[in-house]
Symmetry: C2
Subunit: 929 residues, 2 copies
């Protein structure tokens, strides 16, 4: 046996020597077995080879370190003496299981090898020892199959026909119905097959078996699938796996034997009741292999009441010990109970919350621990629809059509529509609709609101579709580049399949999966979920950060309030522009703004609105000018209504209203559409030349507003400065709404946000001019409003010059979406599908910076802006309103920076509340340390 | 007279009390008159009201400060006694001129009022005193006209018909041919017209005239035109103007009187010879009014040799005193010489250089002063064509078609072509062509190179058209939104005029003007311009910054070398891709890259190129994969040629080659073009379905590469990471070229630049993989190349994390164009025409951040990156390669930061050399202080 240089430290730990704190050295499985041995629980004797041995195995060119072999022999000796059996003996054989186990649970690694240490001769001996030849030969058969698979890379499907044929010949349907002789014949066939496929035999020598198995476990650490998994989840490739070697116990020795699993609480609902399954006269694999249906654990209470009492007492002990819901494997060998594994149970979000709150109320854990135990995202998942069946099943996965980026969580199932109008029409007929678009634009909004789910081919997790759906709680998958939409034909193709409009698909906005099938969905029942409310109540008492919501309508605001929002951090006025009834006026306003502004500057001077009759008389003669001011009036009216609605809902809570931000052309019909309409008009009889001229003019204007990079173009306060009447109209609407509500006895706190500032001078001029408008409205009404002016810090330059900007801003709201976009030079609309996903998969970036704030770059700018802003104006109100407001890690960062609040989609408010509490707790822990 | 609170300090300075250092207090004109009085030169007696009085006038609601009136009376008394005349006396009248004069010369301010202190009675007296009634009445007539214009706002065109009619009646053509009686009649008509237009008379009382004139001068500081001018040039609005009051002297008293101007050297060529004009028997206005042609100054030497000797001696004295080329106004009153003004003369760039160098060689100024006296931009202007005639003339301005942003300096005149192909065809016929496009794209490049000038409607001063033309020295005007191009009709319209393809236009890339006429242009003769070479030689000895050039071809590199470049700071490989002969291969490579990459990853693993026959056999069966690798080979061949050419030219100077940076779709035909071609193919008989399918596939691929914001999209190192073979091919080409040249005995210094890094991990992986390629080429050739790997710092995140990036980069080149774009969120392509120009005009931003580096925001990022980079790697080579490399103020900033070099277009290299020298000099001055 080739050996590597000696390793410092112990290579092998007996179960009695380790404990649960050593998972990095002994793996999760191994350290938990040690811990149970420590607690005096009945674990079969065994030991663990450390992860350091695995690391050494790879660093020394796949050789085992000096001393390992001796150590293994010594430990096997100890097992032999403790059990009074002998490894390699045919009369009184000791068999062992060999399992991999890293610090982090990880699929794709080697499975357990059971019954190692067996060969023809030993199998005979075992048959006698067990007084059960069938069990002995069955163990041998399974060993051969697994060993050949793991060590000799013989595929599993080599063995299945052999077993199948044998059962056919024996006219039986279940494995355990085969006779010992039949099993012996199968074993010979297995050996023959192994020889044929690998060119060698499974070694007869148990020690050789052990060595080869240990090395195979180590090698399984570095399979491509395991490497990819670790890359994907950001797990270090250097950890290595431990190997646990444990003496075999047998659940298949008759009716007083058996095997099972149990959960200390219901992992689905979180209810406090032991729940599990049990299969008499079986080994673990029988449960997995299917064929026999496990019995509810409760039946054990009647069949073996003593064992049942022991088991439930031990389960209770383990839960108390680990102070968390446990998932326990056990085996009963001829009435004697052995625990083979315990671990923290995987649970649904609802179970996680309920168990944590219950445990805190039972005094098992503290409230702080309960708060820290729930991932903020789990709370968001609680609020969205789910599929009623498990779509991880092979059958469901067969219907998998494509995979995109998960953009807005929740499950949806509906009829495919390829445009907004079709979606609206189908929804009116009562259809559940899934809108599928290459990408969505603001004028698809009515189609989106009419749909139960949205799928786009382009655009990332902060694209239009993603942001809008997340705000509305509509499940959405974006950036699904495998899907090719043919709008002309009315179909999509993905991975060779074609789906026509009117067919049904399902999508999971939490995983990004899209299925060519209609799966049922259901909304979680939350009204009676008292534990959830309790947990968030605790969170609110702990957190220091305010949690506000991004909401554009009174409906959104109401929802946000009910989910605990303390204010509106971002009300996007332009979303109000997109109502189909309003869009024509908005378009009139924007298309005629340049001409009207030219006229205004020439005739009235900067900053002056036309008021008196003479000027209006002049206006009437100038068509674009008249159209502009008429449209402006219309827009003012509906904006005043909108603001009244949202301010009324929020009452004396702050509402930050952002003035027009989007590039103008977002509100205009696309050039392709206009040209098509023009074509149609021209070919239609009876259309007047005036109609055509008008359409041509529209196309010309829309084209003149086109930009190569609209994100970096004429938007935000640049529009406000180019076309002063628009922002003035918006401020007038906000203030008119405010004074109206105050007169009705409703207190309001509007905060006016000027977007996309790059220099203090923009802010200074706009604030000056808009203050005049705000003051005039108050003066006329004879009512004072407590309003503020502030800005979004969303360009690197605004962050870099924040000290100056704070001189003329009452508040900063960090627009982390745009700030991330500009700091990286990553387009939110393009990056995801083109390169960002592979950047993350390949570990070039640790996370999607649009989901989790980049603390190093973007965070540095924010840190600077917070310090400089506060220095210039100590009362500066500071918050963030990007997508990062709902992300746990980002919220913790914002907490540490000392922001006043985070603002996120209403559906993410509970998650943000929890994340804010966790951040406060982490801080107090740090302080305490 | 209402007065404001008393002012601290003197309100009025006699000429003898001030000097040239007090221009801020006394204005430029006033302080120079003081200085001349000091020097004992014959200046008419006078005094100056300070700029503080003007400031007080505005800050106290347009009232004059206490004590001013008394001060004026005292000073007028002093004039009276020094000249023995009396202000307001009709028998022995003292008349004065009143002039505005701010610290900074500024058009748009009030003109001089001559002959103030006159009325009917005094005019009679003056006629007697002068013994020249015609002169006296003419003075009165002029006074009325100017006074009415300035004080009473009576427009000039009220008076012209009166004078014209009178001359017609008198049958004379010149003003001075009018008789005293005729002039008296005109005066009465003037008075009548003034009364009709303003409702009042010009006051008869000289003191009232004086007071009203002083206030009018003050008010002229705040005319919209003056305010706008100051905004535009960044002059403070608070300076205020001084008022100079000087006793009148008369050049119109007969043949021993006269008036003139002179330059101490030729302001056009800079040659050392006194040059000027002289008009006998005339006042200053006669020269301006035209009608009489001034005589060359030399004639004065014969007509009044004494005066001529005095004058040239004084000119010499003034040049020596001011140590600069002077522009002097003088009047001779009956043989007595008076100097009325001296100032530093406006001169052409060539004259500026020649005079500075000559003066330094004469010992008049130091070499350092000579270097500091030339604006870097003036050197750039020397290198471009100019119009042979002055297009400021009214006639030329009549042909003005539109005005855009000056993007690449120089004058051009040629036939309008609306697409690249037409431009090339016309150029082949020998036509001078001006390419007019809505905007240019990379595949217009052959059209651009074929043109003498380029005009675009969209895109700013760093748009594609601007950058390319500047690099090539082709005059260019961009962002000319007044021009509307109708490609279908083949015409442009601008301000109501239509210009068809084939007509001629002229454009001035230094002013942004476009004319509907063909004006002649000429290239400056520079071969014999020794003074220019001398100056740059001095600059090189002083400067510390290296000056490199951006050059993409051997031709560019040769030009850059001849203009003094010390290296190539940016060689854009993609510009080599755009040759029409190469573009097909480039397109094949890019279109098939995604499919080929998928195949490669599946079959070969990341980072492995297909080498052996088996793999190539497989390749052949997979069409996109085969196409990709075939195209890659073609591109490799021509890239190797290109690099060989450019490296050979530069020899042992560094050449930084940037790997592919542009978004992929820049190389692809536009969607509109493809759809049109498809339409045509489908309607054509005899086209195979294969051809159509191929075109459809091309359209589909091009569409899949489309991005909403390409500047923030899939470009730079993101391409390098997505499609590793492309960068590998480029590095192979660079290294193959390098080893080839070294083998030929030509030393080379290639530096490989990886663009658009946002995180060190991108740089680390690419450097690792590309180093392997570079090493392999050297190994195979058995030759070592001294090459470097570095990156462009062009995203805010790269700047923020520069310390980490420096760990794996040998050099940083700051890409200030992109860095500015991202820091501001201003699209280079869109911002200029949409809002940036008005931002600058209105003073929201002090300068175009794409022309002059924004030191506050972008500069802060660079400062940080330089410090962090140098700390991490002291040997880090630091430079900049954005458009700012040729801008004086920016170069000074880069000098202060301690960069190693700046890199700019070849044509701007001389300017950068000078700017670098000036920066070094400024620093040593600071150190000395």
């Amino acid at each position: 046996m080739a050996t590597a240089p000696p390793l410092v430290g112990k290579l092998v730990y007996r179960f009695e020597e380790g404990d649960a704190t050593q998972s990095e050295l002994l793996g999760g499985k191994g350290s938990n077995l040690c811990e149970m041995a420590h607690l005096g629980l009945p674990v079969p004797p065994g030991f663990v080879i450390t992860t350091q041995v695995c690391q050494s195995y790879f660093s020394s060119g796949q050789t085992l370190p000096e001393g390992l072999w001796e150590s293994l022999r010594e430990n096997i000796d100890l097992l032999e003496s403790s059990l009074a059996r002998e490894f390699g003996s045919s009369s009184n054989p000791l068999l062992v299981s060999v399992r991999s186990g890293a610090a982090v649970s990880m699929p794709g690694m080697m499975d357990t090898i059971l019954n190692l240490g067996i060969n023809d001769e030993i199998a005979e001996g075992l048959a006698g020892l067990m007084d059960n030849p069938r069990a002995a030969y069955d163990a041998y058969r399974r060993f051969l199959q697994i060993y050949a698979g793991v060590v000799l890379e013989v595929p599993n499907d080599v063995f299945e026909p052999i077993l199948g044929d044998a059962k056919t010949r024996a006219q039986v349907s279940q494995d355990h119905q085969l006779s010992p002789e039949q099993l012996r014949a199968i074993i010979e066939d297995y050996k023959e097959a192994i020889r044929r496929h690998s060119g060698r035999d499974v070694p007869e020598d148990p020690w050789t078996q052990l060595k080869e198995a240990v090395e195979a476990v180590f090698r399984s650490w570095n399979t491509p699938r395991a490497i990819h998994y670790r890359d994907y989840y950001g797990i270090s490739q250097d950890l290595g796996t431990a190997v646990t070697i444990m003496s075999m116990v047998y659940g298949n020795l008759g009716d007083t034997s058996g095997t099972g699993v149990l959960f200390t609480r219901d992992p689905s609902s979180g209810k406090k009741e032991v729940l599990g399954e049990y299969l008499p006269n079986a080994q673990g694999e029988d449960v997995v292999a299917g064929g026999r249906t496990p019995r509810p654990l409760a039946e054990l209470a009647t069949s073996m009441p003593q064992v049942y009492r022991q088991l439930t007492a031990m389960a209770h002990q383990l839960e108390n010990h680990y102070r968390d819901l446990q998932d326990i494997e056990f085996t009963v060998e001829e009435g004697r109970l052995f625990l083979l594994q315990t671990r923290n149970a995987k649970r649904t979000p609802m179970a996680a919350v309920r168990a944590a709150v219950d445990m805190a109320e039972e005094g098992l854990i503290t409230r702080q621990e309960a708060l820290l135990r729930i991932k903020p995202d789990e709370l968001s998942q609680l609020l969205v629809p789910k599929f009623t069946e498990d779509l991880d099943s092979a059958e469901a996965q067969n219907s998998l059509l494509a995979r995109g980026a998960p953009a807005s969580p929740g499950a949806a199932s509906g009829m495919v529509c390829f445009d907004a109008a079709a979606a609206v029409a189908a929804a009116l007929q009562g259809e559940a609709v899934i809108l599928v678009r290459p990408e969505t634009k603001p004028d698809d909004i009515h189609g989106i609101t009419a749909s139960v789910g949205v799928l786009t081919c382009r655009g990332g997790v902060t694209s239009h579709a993603a942001v809008v759906t997340r705000g509305m709680g509509i499940p959405c998958v974006v950036s699904c580049e495998e899907v090719w939409v043919d709008l002309e034909q009315g179909c999509l193709t993905a991975n060779g399949k074609t789906v026509w409009a009117g067919e049904y698909i399902s999508l999971d906005g939490g995983t990004g999966e899209v299925f060519h099938a209609a799966y049922k969905t259901e909304l979680p029942e939350l009204d009676e979920f008292e534990e959830g409310k309790t947990l968030l109540g605790w969170a609110d008492r702990v957190k220091r950060l305010g949690v506000w919501a991004n909401a554009d309508t009174p409906q959104d605001a109401t929802q946000a309030l009910s989910l605990g929002a303390e204010g509106i951090g971002l009300c996007r006025t332009e979303h109000m522009f997109l109502d189909p009834e309003r869009l024509p006026a908005v378009r009139q306003m924007l298309l005629n703004a340049p001409a009207a502004e030219e006229w205004r500057r020439d005739n009235l001077g900067a900053g002056v609105a036309p008021k008196d009759q003479d000027q209006l008389g002049e206006l009437v003669r100038k068509s674009p000018v008249r159209k502009f001011y008429e449209a402006l009036d219309q827009v003012r009216r509906f904006q005043t209504e909108d603001f009244t609605g949202i301010l009324r809902v929020m009452g004396n809570r702050p509402v930050i209203i952002r003035l027009l931000d989007a590039p103008l052309h977002e509100f205009l019909p696309s050039q392709e559409e206009l040209l098509a309409e023009l074509e149609e008009l021209r070919s239609k009889p009876g259309v007047s030349s005036g109609q055509i001229t008008e359409k041509e003019e529209l196309a010309r204007l829309a084209d003149s507003l086109r930009e190569a990079n609209p994100m970096l173009g004429h938007r935000g306060c640049r529009l406000g400065l180019s076309f002063p009447p628009i922002y003035q109209m918006q401020v007038e609407a906000i203030m008119t709404a405010s004074v109206g509500l105050i007169k009705q006895g409703c207190p309001v706190q509007p905060e006016i946000m000027i977007p996309l500032i790059v220099d203090v001078e923009e802010m200074r001029r706009l604030r000056r001019d808009l203050t005049a408008v705000a003051e005039a409205v108050q003066q006329e009404a004879g009512v004072r409003v407590a309003y503020k002016f502030g800005t979004m810090i969303e360009t690197p330059r605004a962050a870099l010059t924040a000290g100056k900007i704070a001189e003329v801003a009452d508040f900063f709201s960090f627009g982390t979406n745009d700030l991330t976009q500009l700091t990286f030079g990553f387009s939110r609309d393009d990056a995801e599908g083109k390169f960002l996903r592979s950047y993350i998969q390949e570990g070039i970036l640790p996370a999607d910076p649009f989901s989790t704030l980049d603390q190093e770059g973007v965070g540095d700018l924010i840190r600077h802006a917070v310090a400089a802003g506060r220095e210039a104006r100590p009362s500066l109100e500071l918050g963030i309103c990007g997508e990062h407001g709902g992300d746990g890690a980002s919220v913790a960062f914002f907490h540490r920076l000392g922001l006043d609040y985070v603002s996120c989609s209403p559906y993410r408010v509970p998650a943000a509340r929890l994340a804010a509490a966790q951040a406060a707790l982490a801080e107090s822990t740090e302080t305490a340390d």
